[in-house]
Symmetry: C2
Subunit: 255 residues, 2 copies
């Protein structure tokens, strides 16, 4: 079982979209996949068409120890694709974790009892580097960084990589940067091309060859509770995520 966190402190760069579409592609080739929605916004939960019901266990309950990881799992509409939903309470988790001993390892310990079930566990992180995201990075074998092709997103990348390396040094020596994925790429403007050139210059083959174009169908899909691969398979967005999933598997073999 491989645990992969999808993280970037910059907001709105395609973390959730990337998480659910890589997971969908993996499920389509018969891999057993679990997505953990670790964002109090619950965008991964909504984008998969799952309703957040009162009284249902969530990723919050796992962090506070009020349920086992397995108890919070719900099926999605897709084969061998399960979800641990988010809950608005997750916003309070940071404050509740702060005084715990080994507060960075709470999720890692909780996921131990899942070890035999899934091929891949993908964790969708919130736009921050708080204790929730730290727990996701400490639990992960590798981290994927979606990067919007814009200046402000690029500016934060060096700081993010520094933080990932700090977590690797202090808490999780086996954490690897699996790759950087360029998202919302607009062919019409020079900004995207400039950012792509910069990122490839500094990060070389850490950057996925596949680039995800800006595609409005991707932004429409969540309102139907479906990943783009299901909502509009022929769209440029879906085709790019399909290509990306192939490259993902390639990289996973090499790690």
């Amino acid at each position: 079982m491989k645990i992969i966190s999808i993280a970037n402190r910059k907001g709105g760069v395609g973390k959730t979209t990337t998480t659910i579409n890589i997971a969908t592609a993996l499920s389509a080739i018969n891999k057993k996949v679990l997505v953990i929605d670790f964002d109090p916004q619950g965008n991964a939960t909504t984008s998969l068409g799952i309703e957040k019901k009162k009284g249902q266990f969530s990723s919050y309950n796992i962090l506070t120890g009020s349920c086992k990881a397995a108890e919070a799992i719900v099926p999605t509409n897709l084969p061998h694709f399960d979800l641990i939903p988010s809950s608005p309470d997750l916003a309070a988790a940071e404050i509740e974790l702060v005084d715990l001993p080994e507060r960075e390892f709470v999720l890692k310990k909780a996921l131990k009892d899942l070890l035999t079930e899934y091929d891949y566990v993908l964790i969708d992180c919130p736009p921050s580097l708080n204790l929730i995201t730290i727990n996701a990075l400490v639990s992960a074998n590798s981290v994927i960084v979606p990067l919007q092709c814009e200046f402000l997103a690029l500016e934060g990348l060096a700081d993010l990589i520094k933080n990932i390396n700090a977590i690797k040094r202090n808490f999780n020596p086996s954490l690897a940067l699996q790759g950087i994925i360029l998202t919302m790429f607009s062919r019409q403007n020079n900004l995207s091309k400039m950012i792509e050139a910069d990122v490839r210059k500094y990060f070389g083959d850490k950057v996925y060859q596949t680039v995800i174009p800006r595609c409005v169908r991707i932004a429409e899909a969540p309102s139907f509770g479906k990943p783009i691969l299901v909502y509009d398979f022929k769209s440029t967005g879906a085709q790019a995520y399909l290509q990306l999933a192939k490259e993902f598997l390639q990289r996973e073999k090499e790690v």
Copy 2:
């Protein structure tokens, strides 16, 4: 002096862009403006062309009490427009605030010694509802919510308004929702139009008439350290923010 927080938990919706451009327009009509960069990413600081220097006081130092608010103020290149820069340390502020008595009021108290200096103080919030954002909302007279014209951003709006009302009830009875600003509006696609119709239906005249279009020049401006109003005054983005600033003043008179 009016204190206005620009907040939305959803990431990448235009909080920073809106903060610096309203501030720029206000400075152009001789209002004294202070922007506080409350996001550890420091995007407002970068977008204004200010370098984050080691040893310089920042919004972090104000929260931890290691300097007075006035000591962290730096001038920008624009007349009567000052900034309290961010610092990466701000990411740790949440953990340092948690055990303080009256942890929600730290910023409010620190801003008391500024009371006579500025016409407007605008606080750029990070994409979360953590103690940093709560401090900004507790200190503010009103809050502006930039809303990207996409489904996932809309989904989080009701929860955000609920949280704003909870802060109003528990900590800051005078906090008002000054307005909701539609951002990154694409005329070519139906999604934006649908979202706009929905938001106006539920929130009526809380929604600014002025809509900010998606405009690549806006995304280019931060790499030059300039707000769009300075970088490319004739662009559709700049003209929309100029219009928005006029509506902002209108709403401020009515509050």
